[in-house]
Amino acid sequence: MKNIIEIKNMSYRYPVSDDFCLKNITFSIQKGAFTAIVGNNGAGKTTLCNAIRGFVPHFYKGELAGEVIVDGKQIVDYQLGQLGEKIGYVFQNPFSQISGVKDSVFNEVAYGLENLGVPVDEIIQKVEDVLKLVNIEHLRGKNPFELSGGQRQRVALAAIIVMDPDILVIDEPTSQLDPIGTEDIFDVIRLMKERGKTVLLVEHKMDLIAEYADNILVLHEGALVMQGPVREVFSDPKYATFNIQYPHVTEVALNLIDIGVPLKFIPIRNEELPKALKMEWEENND
């Protein structure tokens, strides 16, 4: 499979700080993969997203070393405006994530398509579809300024996926959402993956990462300390050293192992724990 994103020895320093907040990062992402980026606060997750989207260095300036290649082309060779269609970016703060000029959710979601010059009939059709997909049809007439944080997060996501970009970079899309809202968003993301999109997601809710993502990148103090398939990363003892959350079930499993309960494998999804216990038990009773 083709690598749609390639990052080689990338380091980055913001213009007003002395230290590099991304240090010598190298990884690549295959087209159609769902990759989660995890790490503690300040680890550099958002900065990495900005680097992939080209806001680092196009907008934030500062010093960028190494290479960021998106779809075969160096990021520095793109114009900021060109990347909008290729990479959809939903960022962390839902409150500032509205255009500020539209008076209804429907128009807000349509804004990106208007900017891309899509014909009006097509815009209306696409917006209708996305409102349904993200489950915000009931908000269509509301003023975006009057939405709650969770509602804004859904609108922000809708406003990006309506533009149908090949790559989705999504930074903590569920921070303001309740469990049901969070599940909804992950369902949408899964659907995007089924449609062949490449997804990069920053998220602290490890249970959901374990359930949906293919691969994980672990950032720690600006360095990429681990990468690989979700299951491998969570079962690697090295992961524990960074003090990042585990999926709940993995946490429980590791505690069980600690107190001497043997497990056949380390579960990362809820339904796997009974299975791991059962397999171990059957083996012992054979």
């Binding site: 970016y89 500020g100 014909p119």
Partner: protein, 247 residues
């Protein structure tokens, strides 16, 4: 949909009309002519269903101004035909004449302008300007200003309340009140400036600077009246000019 024949006009038609009123009172020096405009404008406002708010704004914005302008001219405009005296001041006939001319003009122009914005949605007006070739950035600036103002008013109010409960004095001597100003305004300004960074990223993410020609869900309609009214106004304007300067 609104069915009102006046509200339904294209914003530019309404703009041309307001400009027509403004220019006509400059061409025709008669204050009777200029004063006649106001009742006409009021009737238009009433037909458009905005009579009351229109009158409110005209009264609030213009009455005091007109009073002062009139009194100033009455007493201070250079002239020697004294028609009345008050304390050390003398009212002159020239002053009365010029006072009426000036106030009638200010009233006609001011109330035409007010009417325009009573019967035109700003969003429609901005769209009309965009259609005329105003860059998207210009449209963005105006529309986002209109959204930010109430937002910031609300924040200022919240901050003021919070300061009061924290014991920052907002009443008392001038110095005390003046001191309260900075802690109210500074956080407001700093946080708004901080938010511009993310707003810029939002706009870029929505392809604001994509190198294509934008489309718009918002379309302005042009009816037959929108084609005829500007022509009628133009003919009237030319006739006025000819009548005033050549006959």
């Amino acid at each position: 949909m609104k069915l009102n024949p006046i509200l339904n006009l294209h914003p530019l038609t309404k703009l041309y009309f307001s400009l027509f009123v403004t220019i006509s009172v400059i061409i025709i020096p008669s204050y009777i002519f200029a004063f006649t405009w106001f009742p006409i404008l009021l009737v238009i406002a009433i037909i458009a269903g905005v009579g009351k708010q229109y009158l409110d704004i005209v009264v609030k914005a213009l009455v005091l101004l007109l009073g002062i302008v009139f009194i100033m001219q009455l007493f201070f405009y250079p002239g020697d035909q004294v028609i009345g005296e008050w304390w050390i001041f003398e009212a002159t006939k020239e002053g009365l004449q010029y006072g009426l001319v000036l106030t009638s003009r200010v009233l006609a122009m001011g109330s035409a302008f007010i009417l325009f914005f009573r019967i035109t949605e700003i969003r429609d007006f901005v769209k009309a300007l965009e259609d005329l070739g105003m860059p998207p950035m210009g449209a963005y600036i105006v529309l986002s200003t209109l959204q930010i103002i109430p937002e910031m008013r609300r924040q200022a109010h919240t901050i003021m309340e919070a300061q009061k409960t924290r014991g920052v004095e907002t009443e008392g001597s001038l110095l005390i009140r003046a001191k309260a100003f900075i802690p109210i305004l500074t956080p407001l300004i700093l946080s708004s400036i901080a938010s511009t960074e993310e707003r810029a990223i939002t706009l870029e993410s929505r392809a604001f600077s994509a190198p294509t020609k934008k489309t718009s869900l918002h379309k302005l309609k042009r009816s037959n009246s929108d084609r005829t009214i500007p022509i009628v106004l133009l003919i009237l304007m030319i006739s006025l000019i000819i009548w005033r300067f050549f006959l």
